[in-house]
């Protein structure tokens, strides 16, 4: 059972949240919103490529050329194994964090 690195988990989750509307910009915006940082925004492309190589996401071109002068837009969707990983990640996170009080207050 291989765990996902956190950044991949965040990315997969962002793509899942966006559903049909997951393409470069929206994914980055979602990640920025979820993590509250804009520093690393450009860097997610490496991780996206990795996810694709691992077969967790697949890309598809938009059918009709998008707004941008006929350039197709690339959409990301979760594959089945990607979804499995996400389910696993949620399960693990839940289990690991169960019974842990709010650490910020407990400090």
């Amino acid at each position: 059972m291989a765990f996902l690195p956190k950044i991949e988990e965040i990315l997969l989750l962002a793509i899942w949240k966006l559903g049909d509307n997951a393409y470069g910009i929206t994914v980055i915006e979602q990640v920025e919103k979820d993590t509250g940082t804009t520093w690393l925004s450009g860097s997610i492309y490496g991780a996206l490529t990795r996810l694709k190589k691992n077969g967790y996401v697949k890309t598809s071109k938009s059918e009709k050329p998008a707004e941008q002068r006929g350039r197709p837009r690339i959409y990301y969707t979760l594959t089945k194994s990607g979804m499995d990983k996400l389910v696993l990640a949620q399960q693990v996170t839940k289990d690991v964090w169960q019974d842990v009080p709010d650490l910020k207050k407990a400090r």
């Binding site: 910009i25 690393l40 694709k52």
Partner: protein, 869 residues
């Protein structure tokens, strides 16, 4: 984004990403560009999108490397062997790239530190500064001050305004605690809410009520140490200007260097009622802009909506009055993060910080390009060395794509080796650079999460940029001709190399001429006729009522020393600027009020500063009515009012009639970065709203120290409570050039770097050519050619290329510098001589670079060079 840029981006990342990722990235970068462009302008948007792209490039690159580590290992090994085999060329390439990268990194560190200004305020994104855009009689100006009442009204009326604070800078204060007396700058008045809006952690005391009461002061750690040592000073009393007692209510941590709000002492705003009086009109008026106001908006609120609302409010409260005065005023809210970089150059006239950022980015980009060109030139020139390898690889079935990758990885290897040296260079030179830039830059500014990817991204970019042409070129050899002996690189390639050399030198020439022209400009401004003589004028600032009341005594006591030649008192010195008031000159209607600089001065002021009265007379102590009735205007004013004989005309100010008694020759009331405006000088040095601020003393140039100690003694006798403070007028006026001087020293240093790198490349090319032409030279010599002719032959080409570079660089520089100079109202002419001198200089440097090689090969004995035939 146009197709061309799109192509560049996709070309750069194609080794690391597939088509889909490429498309997605292009869209993202484009989007970053477009959305930033709307808010911050084109150049900033370009910068941001390039940074984003570099991050992506870095992440894709590391991804790729970790996937195909084996393949790259092999390429790197071969590349490394090649580097070792050709030590001389590797040295030129690596040192060039290392210097290029290092200067790029330093400039980027600088840029980051600029973007980092005031980033430590936790609520920064919600803070806005009130400003206004005002048009009066065809003149438009933007400034960021506001009225006393607006902030209060906003908080009371609009729920989205969570909080506000007003800030007012006090003049330099004499601060005293027991035996410790110092002058302090950056002392402000502010509302207690400043601690809610900005983030200033408290060391002692608490932020909740620190500035509620009048005469409360919060000081920084540094100040606390200076006055109180290591003790907790809360509750202690500081005496300001030997006049007011302030109770210390808190100590905040020192404010970081990269902040535009570096206060030393923050006094409570309540104090203003005691300083100015309860019923001072400036505290209730809707049109006197004396405070800087920051507001804190609620999360996610669009400040443009609020802008509309406050403009309606202003219209309601003061619209009529503003119009009757001929003002059109639009209030605006400036996002806090824009304050440092995007505040438009104001009356101070200095360049906006963002302009420096652009210029420096351009220069660092130039330097990196020049270093890349070296690599391209040397590796294609030496291509015949690799031709056989390429041929063999192809014969054994290597695809062109694979070969391109191989050569690219070699250039990447080189750029990473350079990265290592560049880092060392950066570390070594930063202290020096900091002193050049006039501010602390150090490695600690580099945030590993965000800057290291950018640095490495640049390194990769440089590797690809430098390597792409050689890779495409080398991999394109036909196996048959490449393996054959006597392979020669094509004429096309050598022409392309010439183009690259021209390109390199064009950039260098632009930098040289540009620096020269800006130096000219500085020279011009420093030697301009300022209209006054500041040499040997000692200025003593007046800070408290008490001092002002004893001006008479001071003057009399000072005069007792014969070395004191004359004494003047005024509301301001040249370079200080002046209040800016409404005047009604004779012959104008009430709706045509004229804005004039408003100075109050005595007759001695004219004598002390060497101001010339060109028409009429100066003020006179003997004419009592001068105090209330006389006015002297400057030449600009006379010209603007269209007056041929201004003496005797009437000008009304605030309902009071003044008679023009004289015309003073224009002098620079404001800095030389501002046009001289119409100005009026009146004789009432005890004016309530425009009090005297300085005593100017002209002293004899012999025994300056003695005279100053006389002045000090007088001061200490008359003003025992206040430490003596003085400066020389000429050196304080000179202070305005500091920024220009600083950028010149940065310019010239980077220009030298650019030339050094370009010459390194030229040196490499020269030694290569000399090597190639050994036989030719030998034959020419046996046939009777003289050394001189051979030297000329070898250098003709270089000179031709450099002349061509100058040909291109001249108009480009002219255009760029001409635009830069728009910021200066008093411009030096762009002299041709600067262009010529720079050109000759560059040619000389280039010839010196190639001289060694060419002379060496021309004096070789032909027997040695032809022996092998």
């Amino acid at each position: 984004m146009n197709r061309f840029i799109e192509k560049i981006i996709s070309g750069l990342i194609s080794p690391f990403a597939d088509d889909d990722v490429k498309l997605s990235l292009i869209e993202y970068v484009e989007n970053e560009y477009l959305s930033a462009k709307e808010v911050k302008g084109m150049a900033a948007a370009l910068l941001i999108s390039v940074l984003r792209f570099l991050q992506a490039l870095f992440s894709l690159f590391t991804e790729k490397i970790s996937w195909s580590i084996e393949m790259f290992k092999n390429y790197f090994k071969i590349g490394f062997r090649n580097l070792i085999r050709q030590k001389g060329y590797s040295f030129i390439n690596i040192s060039g790239l290392a210097i290029g990268l290092a200067s790029g990194f330093i400039l980027i560190t600088y840029i980051f530190s600029e973007f980092d200004y005031d980033n430590f305020h936790e609520k920064g994104e919600r803070i806005y500064r009130l400003g206004m855009n005002s048009t009066a009689r065809g003149e438009e100006f933007t400034w960021f001050s506001s009225t006393f009442v607006l902030g209060e009204e906003m908080k009371a009326n609009y729920p989205e305004v969570e909080d506000f604070t007003r800030i007012r800078y006090l003049p330099r204060q004499a601060v005293n605690y027991k035996e410790n007396s110092f002058y302090e700058n950056n002392v402000i008045l502010a509302d207690n809410s400043i601690f809610n809006i900005m983030t200033f952690p408290f060391k002692y005391g608490s932020p909740e009520k620190a500035l509620e009461a009048p005469f409360a002061v919060v000081i920084t750690e540094e100040m606390a140490e200076k006055y109180f040592g290591n003790n907790d000073p809360v509750g202690e009393i500081l005496r300001f200007n030997a006049q007011h007692d302030y109770t210390v209510t808190g100590v905040i941590n020192n404010i970081p260097e990269n902040s535009d709000f570096r206060m030393n002492m923050i006094c409570s705003m309540q104090t203003i009622y005691s300083l100015w009086g309860q019923d001072d009109p400036r505290l209730s008026d809707w049109i006197s802009y004396n405070f800087s106001t920051l507001v804190l908006l609620e999360e996610g609120y669009d400040h443009r909506e609020l802008e509309v609302k406050i403009n309606q409010l202003l219209e309601e409260k003061a619209g009529e009055r503003l119009r009757s005065k001929g003002f059109t005023t639009v209030l605006l809210l400036q996002p806090f993060s824009d304050i440092h970089l995007f505040t438009p150059p104001s009356r101070g006239g200095s360049q906006g910080a963002i302009d420096f950022v652009y210029v420096f980015s351009a220069i660092s980009f130039f330097i990196i390009l020049i270093a890349c060109v070296n690599f391209m030139n040397l590796s294609t020139a030496r291509s015949f060395n690799r031709a056989r390898e390429v041929g063999m690889r192809k014969v054994f079935g290597a695809q062109r794509k694979k070969l391109i990758k191989q050569f690219l990885s070699e250039s990447l290897l080189l750029s990473f080796i350079s990265l290592f040296f560049a880092m060392i260079l950066v570390e070594l030179t930063l202290p020096y650079i900091s002193s050049l830039a006039g501010r602390e830059l150090d490695i600690s500014y580099i945030d590993p999460d965000w800057h290291i990817p950018v640095f490495i991204g640049i390194t990769i970019l440089v590797g690809i940029l430098a390597g792409c042409y050689p890779a495409v070129y080398l991999s394109g050899f036909k196996p048959v001709s490449a393996i054959k002996t006597g392979f020669k690189s094509s004429a096309g390639a050598s022409r392309f190399r010439s183009v690259l050399v021209v390109f390199q030198f064009t950039l260098s020439v632009i930098l040289v001429i540009g620096t020269g022209l800006i130096m000219n400009q500085l020279d011009h401004m420093q030697n301009m006729d300022f209209g006054f003589n500041g040499k040997d004028v000692v200025a003593i600032p007046l800070r408290s009522r008490d001092t002002i009341n004893s001006i008479h005594t001071l003057k009399n006591e000072l005069k007792s020393n014969p070395a004191v030649l004359s004494i003047g008192v005024a509301s301001g010195l040249p370079g200080w600027g002046a209040q800016y008031n409404d005047f009604l000159p004779e012959g104008f209607s009430r709706s045509e009020m004229q804005l004039m600089d408003d100075i109050q001065a005595d007759a001695g002021f004219f004598e002390t500063l060497g101001l010339t009265i060109v028409n009429g007379r100066c003020f006179s102590e003997d004419i009592v009515s001068d105090k209330e009735r006389a006015m002297i205007i400057n030449e600009t004013a006379a010209k603007q009012f269209g007056w041929q004989n201004p003496v005797g005309k009437t000008i009304i100010r605030n309902g009071q009639n003044f008679t023009v008694v004289g015309i003073v020759r224009d002098y620079h009331i404001r800095s030389v970065f501002n046009m001289i405006r119409p100005a009026s000088i009146m004789n009432n040095i005890n004016h309530q709203w425009n009090p005297p601020r300085v005593i100017a003393v002209r002293i004899s140039p012999d025994d300056v120290t003695g005279t100053i100690s006389h002045i000090r003694n007088v001061w200490e006798r008359v003003q025992p409570g206040l430490p003596f403070d003085h400066f020389f007028l000429d050196s304080s006026f000179d202070g305005q050039f500091r920024n220009v001087r600083q950028s010149i020293s940065i310019f010239s240093n980077f220009t030298i770097i650019a030339i050094v790198i370009a010459c390194l490349g030229l040196f490499g090319m020269a030694s290569y050519t000399a090597e190639q032409r050994t036989r030719e030279i030998g034959i020419r010599k046996t046939l009777g050619s003289s050394v001189k002719r051979i030297v000329i032959l070898l250098n003709r080409e270089t000179v031709k290329l450099i002349l061509m570079s100058n040909f291109i660089a001249w108009p480009v520089t002219y255009f760029l510098v001409d635009r830069y100079m728009q910021a200066f109202p008093y411009r030096a002419e762009l002299t041709l001589s600067t262009f010529f001198i720079s050109t000759i200089l560059i040619i000389l440097i280039a010839l010196l670079t190639v001289a060694y090689q060419s002379i060496r090969s021309s004096i070789t004995n032909p027997v040695d060079s032809l022996r092998y035939e």
